[in-house]
């Protein structure tokens, strides 16, 4: 119980830190902040419920006025801005990512996490984000989606990184991934 709370709080802090640290921007021409990577990681490492709790806790602190969103944004204004759908979608995205890794059994933890991140962090998150944008801007969902689609390549990259990180995590701390059952038989200690 206490460990769960600590993990949820620490991952909420991770989501915040990943959006604030300039060194971890994923530069490929345009700097992409790693905040949604934090959301994908929270879902993929902690699982659906605790991952969603971590993202929700992060969002709560943003609402309470802490400038934790990428670019130092925060406060209640975030929740009426055109990106509100994305912000409010964070817990749902983490939940969906966690749900995917918990229910789709794949041999490779990294592959499961990567695909889970595509499902939760891209499919679900963009659906909510585009809905929010459509609502605020008064445009149709399709038009809103066309506008946000430019960010999808960057998020595909983040999903791939999530997969690689979880793959590495499954090797060094397999007990941390509650959803990942090490397949029976002789353990594979290759690195």
């Amino acid at each position: 119980m206490e460990r769960n709370i600590a993990q949820i709080a620490l991952f909420a802090a991770m989501i915040a830190a990943l959006g604030l640290v300039p060194q971890i921007t994923l530069g490929f021409g345009v700097p992409i902040t790693a905040q949604t990577l934090g959301v994908m990681l929270a879902g993929a490492v902690l699982g659906a419920r605790r991952g969603a709790a971590a993202a929700g806790l992060f969002l709560l602190l943003v609402a309470l006025g802490l400038p934790l969103l990428a670019g130092g944004r925060g406060g209640l204004g975030v929740f009426v801005s055109p990106t509100a759908g994305f912000a409010l979608g964070f817990p749902v995205a983490a939940f969906a990512t966690g749900l995917f890794v918990e229910h789709v059994r794949l041999h490779s933890a990294g592959l499961a996490a990567g695909l889970g991140a595509v499902f939760g962090g891209i499919l679900v998150l963009y659906l909510l984000g585009a809905s929010g944008l459509a609502l605020v801007s008064g445009k149709s969902l399709i038009e809103a989606f066309r506008l946000v689609a430019v960010f999808i390549p960057g998020d595909l990259l983040k999903a791939a990184i999530t997969g690689m990180l979880v793959q590495a995590l499954a090797r060094v701390r397999p007990q941390m991934l509650a959803w990942h059952r090490v397949p029976a038989g002789p353990r594979d200690f290759r690195l």
Binding site: A16, P67, G75, V80, S81, G138
Partner: protein, 206 residues
Amino acid sequence: MISLTSPVKTRAHHWPAGLKLAGLCLASTGLFLTGSMVVHVTALLLVLALYAAPGTAFFRAGMCGMRVVVPFVLILLVWHGVTGDWQSGVLITLRMVTLIGLANLVTMTTGLEDLVEVLQHLTAPLGRLGLPVHLLDTAIPLVIRFTPVIVERAGTLAEAWRARSCRRPGWRLILPLTLQALDDADHVGEALRARGGPLGSPQQEP
């Protein structure tokens, strides 16, 4: 930890936070219900007046906080301009700017403690339904405490990287960062448990 609360003390700092939030909700709902241009322009001017009332320092800080909406304003106006419905484009942009401005105003004039208090009031009924909302009292300070710790650690990791490589540090720093965070979580969990943490059922609290 830097907060978005304005250091310039205004009279609104002393108003009850719940009242400000209720006002914000009412104003937002009202603006969404009306399609009148006059009401929207008046509302925006009113919000600007509220920003200007406490003095230039407050006004400048407020406008700084509004800078992030500029790209959205441009996108919305161009977007509606291209599709040819200027009228609704201007209306929607006005509404967005007013609402964000008003919400930021509440954030700027309300301290973290006041908002946490409102949060406790709002979540109290949920607690009676059996949701573990009392855990928030532990979780919120933990996040506030550990965010700067993780940011600092990422800086240290980046420095260590730069001392050993001429390539720029990137996502590779995230694995050690995550591992350290997970280990920290174990230690914090143990520490909370050792102190008989406030994490049992809410009835156990004195």
